[in-house]
């Protein structure tokens, strides 16, 4: 009840009318307070200090990378983030010309999306770093389960579509990496991606599944029209971005429907 009281009292009416973004903002606020990524400690008093540390760390690493000539002024920011992350993990390759690994690609995609969302470089780096770490550590076990969950929920929502996919043998070839590893980075526009990632950050990676299901449901007609698995995959990798907001809203509805009301 305390949580209810904290919620916007108009939310019920808003939901009746069809506005769902109101609650998101609230949840976002709560999320930001909590700082689930762990960049800043819960104590406000130490924020300044910790933030200073973070900045120093960022500048140190940046400087070190510059010193060893791994990056230059012309290096794109996303790559800088990647190199810094690699350095911190101790996985910095011997030479910047070495080919990138798949997980680096994931990082780059996420960094690219995050760069659009966050202005400050330090903040952006730290958020990317924490987000990727979270994906790696916290969802290490749950992420591989997501494709199965996706199939399950798709079956619940629209079994015909799933059957169609299965007949096309496209189930295994769906862009799971794009969906669940990159968390739709590059697939959805940043504005809607933010809402999805908020859920992910706050601890629910299942939202990714529902977003994927909702994408399929939204473009059901097109997917059904396509018979080739590769074509389906290609289409799903480049879905039109104009209806992304609606997709995310519906996905959140689906999430609420199947997993109950979110507990923040």
């Amino acid at each position: 009840m305390t949580e209810d009281s904290q919620r916007n009292f108009r939310s019920v009416y808003y939901e009746k009318v069809g506005f769902r973004g109101v609650e998101e903002k609230k949840s976002l606020e709560i999320l930001l307070k909590d700082d689930r990524l762990g960049i800043l400690p819960p104590h406000h008093e130490s924020h300044a200090l910790v933030m200073m540390y973070r900045k120093d760390q960022y500048s140190d690493i940046f400087h070190a990378l510059k010193v060893i000539r791994f990056i230059s002024d012309t290096t794109p920011q996303v790559e800088i983030y990647l190199r810094m992350y690699q350095l911190e993990l101790g996985k910095l390759p011997r030479s910047p010309s070495f080919p990138l690994e798949p997980e680096d690609e994931v990082f780059l995609a996420i960094a690219k999306a995050m760069e659009e969302m966050v202005e400050d470089n330090v903040d952006c780096y730290w958020i990317i770093r924490s987000f990727v770490n979270q994906l790696k550590n916290k969802y290490r076990d749950s992420l591989p389960q997501l494709p199965k969950a996706f199939e399950h929920y798709l079956n619940l929502e629209d079994s015909r579509l799933l059957n169609h996919l299965k007949t096309c043998s496209a189930v295994s070839k769906l862009p799971y990496d794009l969906w669940f590893k990159m968390c739709f980075a590059g697939c959805l526009p940043e504005s809607s991606l933010q809402r999805v990632w908020d859920k992910v950050v706050s601890g629910s990676c299942k939202i990714l599944v529902f977003v994927a299901v909702e994408i399929l449901l939204t473009f059901k007609m097109k997917v059904m029209a396509l018979n080739n698995a590769e074509k389906i995959t290609k289409f799903l990798e480049n879905i039109p971005q104009d209806s992304s907001d609606a997709i995310v809203s519906k996905a959140i509805d689906l999430w609420h429907k199947h997993c109950g009301t979110p507990v923040h």
Partner: protein, 865 residues
């Protein structure tokens, strides 16, 4: 013309009632009311009364023409009623007065000449009841017409007034006004001119004459016109003669009325024609030529017409032209024989002159001059001049006389009118007075009657008043009696009322007493019942008493028996028992007080316990708060520590990367095969490096590293007393090598160290030592030599509060000595690291120490509590 009649009339009393107004029957219009006509039918002496007659005025006043319609009616009404003679209006035909006037010669002998003149007059009057003045104007006009008809074409002066009247009537046009003004001017001139010749003659009252002139210019003129006809026929003396003969009864008018002459003149002329033929010989103006009467009737122009043109040239011109026009019109309309319709004024003038000359010659012929017999013409010349002169003088004289007469006549007429008006008014007033007197008499009679009745009424009133008085007195007496009775009754009633009140009071008192008695009765009844109850109670008590007494007796007996038995058995134990009892009692009291004290103590202790418990709760609460705070602080510290740790990790990674890089570079160098050269120069390079350290600040980096290396050695000692939680990584660090520890402590010195790394590498390369020995060399570098290293050591010593005070002392002394040396060389370089050193190294360490202290305190506190 009515003089004979008027003279005979005397003012009779009853004539007043008849009234009036009517002047002369001759001038009476036929529309006049009946009384006048009726009067005429009666004997002339009685009937024909008129104010003018009363006054002795002979003139036919102008008033009758005006007055009758206004005055006759009211009076006729009045007298019609009073007189009671309501005879109907006599017809004018039957009425005698006009007839004799006009036609019969019985009354007057003048009727004959009058016959010629009057008919047209009367016609005029019948046509329009014009005012007298107009009539007078028209009189000559008519005559003029007659004359015109007679003379045909010749314009006489007698027509002038009419012409002037016509001119005056057209007052609208301005031209005519102007003309009229000019004419009047001329007329005024004429009158004055006429007056002038009169004066030398004398005999006239000049001022009187002049006064009247401006007022009645026109009239005078017209009169002159009219008189002009009578000039010759009216000599003064003849008129006097006539007065004497014709009007013997008339007592008035020393001067002949001019108007009267108009009518009379023909008669006179006739008379003269008949009787005065003999007087012709005299040159007096009164002599009238016999033709005159005929000429008058035939319209012969007046003898002074010739003067007209001379006197009034303008008016004459206009007059003549007008007349000619009229004549032309007439000639056309009548188709009678015309007298040259287109006669020019010049011709008219000529004719006038001619006629004047003819007339003059005739006159001259008629003159009875002594030298008449002498035929002047016979001598072939005009008559002698003196004769002409005399004639002219006569003419002038006559003219003047005529004017004088005319003036007198006018004056008389005016006076006559005034008097007539007065007379009329007086008559009316008299009549009115008479009526008023009659009324007065009647009213007096009435008054007398009223007086009589008043007396009667007064008598009756007095009687009635007496009666009333008596009645009033009776009534008063009655009232008094009644009042007296009333008072008596009132008194009686009051007495009765007082009695009634007394009775009521009595009744109330009795009632109260009754109530009291009732109360008493009730009370007594109650008391009775109570007493009865008490009685019954007492009876029962008595019974009980008896019973108890019996018991008492029995018990007493038993007691006595027991006492006897007791005395016999225990005699001594009573004392002991009493002692024991007192002892017990005391003991009891003591115990009780003790118990009280104990309970009080218990209370206090309980209160104390409660207090302590509350304290305990407070303490617990505080404790919880402290714990929370501790947790908070812990979390905060953990967060900070984590941040720091991550940073440390990052630094570690950085250093690793650097190491890798360095190693890589070394590896390359080795591969290049430059080792030999380096070995040769190794010793020299070492010396050079030492020197360079002294002079160059580049050496500071090496010193920093070396110092860090040393510091790590110290670290191991200082870290031991610290809690394991913070030092979790210390063990690994110790094993991990010196670089890690150095990185942690010298984070602020990183920039210089980084800067130093290339130099160091260079330096290493110059030294040519193997890469593996680098840490050793770096670590073994004398740290005391570099300023930064000394500073770091100093700081480290402060932070760790280490036991190595001795080293610190020596180092500090060394550093101080070095500071002075190096300060000069590397002043700029040394200051910046110093600045970096201070805050960065000091900020983290005191914090951590403080946290630890707080933690300890909390823990100890917690344990203690």
């Amino acid at each position: 013309m009515n003089w004979t009649l008027g003279g005979s009339i005397t003012s009779t009393p009853y004539s007043t009632s008849r009234l009036t107004l009517l002047s002369t029957p001759g001038q009476l219009p036929q529309t006049l009311s009946s009384p006048s006509t009726r009067l005429l039918t009666e004997p002339p002496q009685t009937t024909l009364w008129s104010p003018s007659m009363v006054c002795g005025m002979t003139t036919p006043p102008t008033s009758p023409g005006n007055v009758p319609p206004e005055l006759s009616h009211p009076y006729s009404k009045v007298f019609g009623t009073t007189g009671g003679k309501g005879t109907p209006l006599g017809t004018p035909a039957t009425s005698p007065p006009p007839a004799p006037l006009c036609h019969s010669d019985d009354y007057v002998h003048i009727s004959l000449p009058q016959a010629t003149a009057t008919p047209p007059k009367r016609e005029e009057r019948t046509d329009s009841a014009r005012p007298c003045l107009h009539r007078q104007h028209h009189l000559p006009n008519d005559r003029g017409l007659e004359e015109l008809s007679g003379s045909k074409g010749s314009v006489t002066l007698s027509d002038l007034p009419e012409f002037l009247g016509d001119l005056a009537s057209d007052e609208d046009s301005i031209e005519k006004d102007k003309e009229e003004a000019a004419i009047s001017k001329e007329l005024s001139e004429i009158t004055t001119a006429d007056a002038e010749p009169v004066v030398p003659r004398g005999g006239f009252d000049s001022p009187f004459y002049r006064d009247s002139l401006p007022g009645s210019q026109r009239k005078s003129h017209s009169a002159s016109g009219t008189q002009g006809t009578n000039v010759n026929s009216e000599p003064l003396n003849s008129s006097l003669d006539k007065l004497g003969s014709d009007t013997p009864k008339q007592a008035f008018t020393p001067i002949d009325p001019p108007c009267g002459h108009a009518d009379e003149s023909p008669a006179d002329s006739r008379e003269r024609q008949s009787s005065l033929e003999t007087n012709i010989l005299t040159p007096s103006p009164c002599k009238i030529p016999p033709q005159r009467g005929v000429g008058f009737g035939s319209g012969q122009p007046p003898p002074y017409d010739h003067l007209f043109e001379v006197a009034l040239p303008k008016t004459a011109c206009q007059f003549v032209s007008k007349k000619t026009e009229e004549l032309l019109r007439k000639a056309k309309g009548n188709t009678e024989e015309d007298y040259v319709p287109s006669t020019s004024p010049m011709e008219v003038l000529d004719r006038l002159i001619q006629q004047g000359a003819d007339a003059h010659t005739k006159e001259l012929n008629k003159l009875s001059l002594p030298s008449k017999s002498v035929d002047w013409t016979h001598f072939g010349g005009s008559p002698p001049s003196d004769e002409i002169h005399t004639l002219r003088n006569q003419l002038l004289l006559l003219h003047n006389q005529l004017l004088y007469e005319r003036f007198k006549r006018q004056q008389h007429a005016l006076r006559n009118r005034r008097l007539l008006r007065k007379v009329i008014k007086a008559a009316a007033l008299e009549e009115h007075n008479a009526a008023m007197k009659d009324q007065l008499k009647l009213q007096e009679k009435d008054i007398q009657i009223w007086k009589v009745s008043l007396q009667k009424e007064q008598a009756r009133y007095s009687q009635l008043q007496e009666q009333r008085d008596t009645v009033v007195t009776q009534l008063h007496s009655q009232i008094r009696q009644l009042q007296h009775d009333r008072e008596e009754f009132y008194n009686q009633s009051q007495e009765l009322q007082t009695k009634l009140e007394d009775c009521r009071n009595m009744i109330a008192e009795l009632r109260i007493e009754l109530k009291k008695a009732n109360n008493k009765v009730c009370h007594t009844e109650l008391l009775l019942s109570q007493v009865s109850q008490k009685l019954s109670n007492s009876e029962s008590v008595q019974q009980q008493m008896e019973f108890l007494n019996r018991q008492l007796l029995v018990l007493g007996e038993v007691n006595e028996l027991y006492l006897e038995q007791l005395q016999n058995k225990h005699a001594d134990t009573t004392k002991e028992v009493e002692m024991m009892k007192t002892a017990y009692r005391k003991e009891l009291e003591k115990n009780r007080s003790h118990v009280l004290q104990q309970s009080q103590r218990l209370d206090t202790s309980q209160k104390r316990i409660l207090e302590l418990e509350s304290h305990l709760a407070k303490k617990d609460h505080l404790l919880l708060e402290q714990k929370k705070y501790l947790e908070d602080v812990k979390v905060q510290a953990r967060g900070q520590l984590q941040a720091a740790e991550s940073r440390y990790e990052a630094q570690k990674r950085i250093t690793q990367v650097f190491e890798l890089e360095i190693l890589d570079l070394y590896g390359r160098l080795e591969k290049d095969g430059l080792l030999k050269k380096l070995e040769e120069e190794k010793t020299e390079a070492a010396e050079a490096a030492e020197e360079r350290l002294d002079c160059c600040n580049d050496g500071c980096s090496d010193a920093g590293i070396g110092h860090n290396e040393e510091a790590s050695g110290h670290n191991g000692e200082t870290k031991i007393p610290r809690p394991s939680s913070t030092r979790g990584s210390s063990g690994s660090r110790g094993g991990g090598g010196s670089s890690s520890s150095s990185s942690e402590l010298s984070t602020p010195e990183k920039p210089p160290s980084q800067r130093a790394s290339p130099f160091s590498s260079r330096w290493e390369t110059t030294i040519g030592e193997p890469s593996t020995s680098i840490p050793m060399t770096v670590g073994s570098l004398p740290s005391s030599k570099s300023f930064l290293g000394m500073k770091a050591r100093e700081l480290f010593r402060n932070k760790s509060e280490s036991q190595c005070d001795e080293d610190g002392m020596t180092i500090s002394s060394l550093s101080e000595t070095l500071k002075t040396e190096l300060g000069k060389d590397s002043g700029v370089e040394a200051k910046t690291p110093l600045n970096l050193d201070g805050p960065c190294s000091s900020t983290p360490n005191p914090d951590s120490v403080g946290q630890l202290r707080i933690m300890d305190y909390n823990e100890t506190h917690h344990e203690h509590s």
